[in-house]
């Protein structure tokens, strides 16, 4: 059938933009991208994880060998435990600081835009640059922090000692990311319905009671968002390690371990199995919270 026949066959464009298919048409680019960028790496990473391969020659299939080795790998398990430690410390600290400052700044005050604008800055500066900066400021001899500590009569602290370095890295991370919690929670506080709070005040509820029984429950979807996103990002913590200890002095975390195995020792097979392990861990940690997040957003019920 040509274009001049009576019953014209709809063009591809017309089909794609028709009521029935339009929503799928819009997703074509995304599907293409997901296929290339998600399925491809996932498939190959999974495949390599069952192989022994050093980038030279052919990959040898060894079945579950890598995974069995992984379970007995103390260095890897230590990195795993440390990652969880960092996760717990950073998320709790960021939420507490965030909640405190959000409650403090959730009002009209002179210079509010300046205060919020400045508080936002660390969030948007490259994590690598900030970790190099903190590494410099926390240097033992001439670092600004130790000099100030000496000046006010406190002793110097060796911030990169094996006992302290991991917490120093947590500190840098919290310093950079607390504004995230602050801003998300301020937005949450602003969206709370006023009348409920007025009713509570009329009924003579105390501030603490109002906070615990009204504010906190209503903020919980946003607290959920913060926990999920931060957990996802913290499991992959890499830049602050590169900028400071480079995984030394007992600060090696999950992704750093994988990076070293795959890209320093070129043990692709073993590195891949670690990466896959780390992926399933992330999904396991996040999936539960994720359902809650989606419920909070009203996507699934």
């Amino acid at each position: 059938m040509g274009p001049d026949t009576a019953v014209r066959k709809p063009s591809i464009w017309e089909i794609l933009t028709s009521e029935k298919y339009f929503k799928w048409t819009l997703l074509i680019p995304l599907f293409a991208l997901l296929l290339v960028f998600m399925l491809y790496p996932l498939f190959y990473c999974l495949y390599y994880s069952f192989c022994q391969w050093g980038m030279q020659g052919k990959a040898i299939f060894v079945g579950l060998h890598n995974y069995r080795e992984l379970l007995n790998d103390t260095a890897f398990m230590e990195a795993l435990a440390r990652t969880f430690e960092v996760l717990a410390i950073c998320i709790v600290a960021e939420l507490l600081i965030g909640l405190g400052l959000a409650l403090l700044w959730n009002r009209e005050f002179r210079g509010q835009n300046v205060v919020r604008g400045l508080a936002l800055l660390p969030l948007l500066v490259a994590p690598l640059v900030l970790s190099l900066l903190w590494n410099f400021m926390l240097e033992y001899d001439f670092g600004a922090v130790n000099q100030i500590l000496t000046a006010i009569g406190l002793g110097k602290v060796y911030w990169w000692s094996p006992n302290l370095a991991l917490y120093t890295i947590c500190f840098i991370t919290i310093w950079q990311w607390f504004p995230f919690s602050v801003f998300v929670l301020i937005a949450g506080l602003r969206s709370l319905p006023r009348d409920v709070f007025e009713a509570a005040r009329v009924d003579g509820a105390s501030n603490w009671y109002t906070f615990r029984r009204l504010t906190l429950p209503m903020l919980s979807p946003l607290i959920m968002i913060i926990v999920v996103l931060r957990a996802m990002w913290l499991i992959r913590l890499f830049d602050p390690l590169y900028g400071t200890t480079r995984g030394g002095v007992r600060t090696e975390l999950l992704d750093w371990r994988v990076y070293r195995t795959a890209f320093v020792y070129f043990d692709i097979g073993y590195g891949s199995s670690m990466a896959i392990f780390s992926l399933f861990l992330t999904i396991a940690v996040c999936a539960v919270m994720y359902r809650e997040l989606m419920k909070a957003l009203g996507v699934i019920r």
Binding site: P29, L30, M55, N113, L121, P127, V129
Partner: protein
């Protein structure tokens, strides 16, 4: 009165903690190496400013070239990310396509540890000669940003009232026209926020840039990281480089402050 004093006391302390270190980059950038490595307390802030670090940065190292790479890579990848994310987010928000599960799958690419993708891509790029090329790193940044951009835009699209679109349909607009003439103008602020986020994330990215670029496509974060060597650390040029490289993000942060709150809540609340 006491309450107000306490409010400002806490606020000032927090701001000092935030700005102090950032300011330190700029202070250090103008110090001679003698002033950087001194233990004399007053030299922390009292010193003779010098442009030596900047001169060294610009003449001894390919700073402008690497900064240019960062700019190219950020802009090109962001354009592609938007072309993919914008229609997809609209579909998810307007029709809940895939019942939330597709959206979940999309966002879960962001859950991937960076290394899961890095290993296969490294091998693929080696085979196709994409290591240390602009195209290669742009592809990685598209992968890196798409899911999150989709998620952000999804939040903004959800705020567009469906009635507006239906009214336009009654007036005889086709789907494409509804999107172009009704939805798109309403989504512009959200689009702007998402674009700036993508630009900043690509601008700041280190892990992929570090693994996948060496010389021709090296980005500025990798150059700055190279001053932190295992033998000596060149704090002066490092600070000078960082001072220039973070300037665009600082400016963007300042102007975005108002909109960023809206972006950070992903449409979960009406900000």
């Amino acid at each position: 009165m006491l309450k107000k004093a306490l409010f400002w006391f806490v606020t000032v302390i927090v701001l000092l903690t935030v700005i102090g270190p950032l300011l330190w980059i700029y202070i250090t950038a103008f110090k001679s190496s003698g002033d950087i490595f001194t233990t004399e307390l007053k030299k922390l802030v009292v010193f003779t400013p010098t442009l030596d670090n900047f001169k060294r940065m610009f003449t001894d190292y390919p700073f402008w070239f690497n900064l240019g790479n960062t700019a190219i890579v950020s802009v090109v990848s962001t354009i592609f990310v938007m072309l993919v994310s914008l229609p997809a987010a609209y579909s998810f928000a307007r029709w809940n396509t895939g019942g939330g599960h597709l959206l979940f799958i999309t966002i879960s690419t962001r859950m991937f540890p960076g290394v899961v993708a890095a290993i296969p891509f490294f091998i693929m790029f080696r085979t196709f000669g994409l290591l240390d090329t602009h195209a290669g790193i742009i592809l990685l940044y598209i992968y890196f940003n798409t899911s999150f951009a989709t998620f952000l835009l999804y939040g903004f699209f959800r705020d567009v009232p469906e009635e507006l679109e239906q009214a336009a349909m009654v007036d005889g607009y086709g789907r494409m026209e509804v999107f172009r003439k009704v939805v798109f103008p309403l989504i512009l602020p959200g689009l702007a926020v998402t674009t700036v986020f993508c630009l900043i994330w690509s601008w700041n990215e280190f892990f992929y840039a570090f693994l996948f670029t060496r010389l021709t496509a090296r980005t500025v974060t990798v150059l700055i990281s190279s001053f932190w060597g295992s033998i000596e650390v060149q704090y002066g040029p490092m600070a000078a480089g960082a001072a220039v490289a973070i300037l665009p993000t600082l400016i963007a942060a300042w102007f975005m402050q108002r909109y960023v709150i809206r972006g950070l809540t992903f449409g979960a609340v009406k900000g």
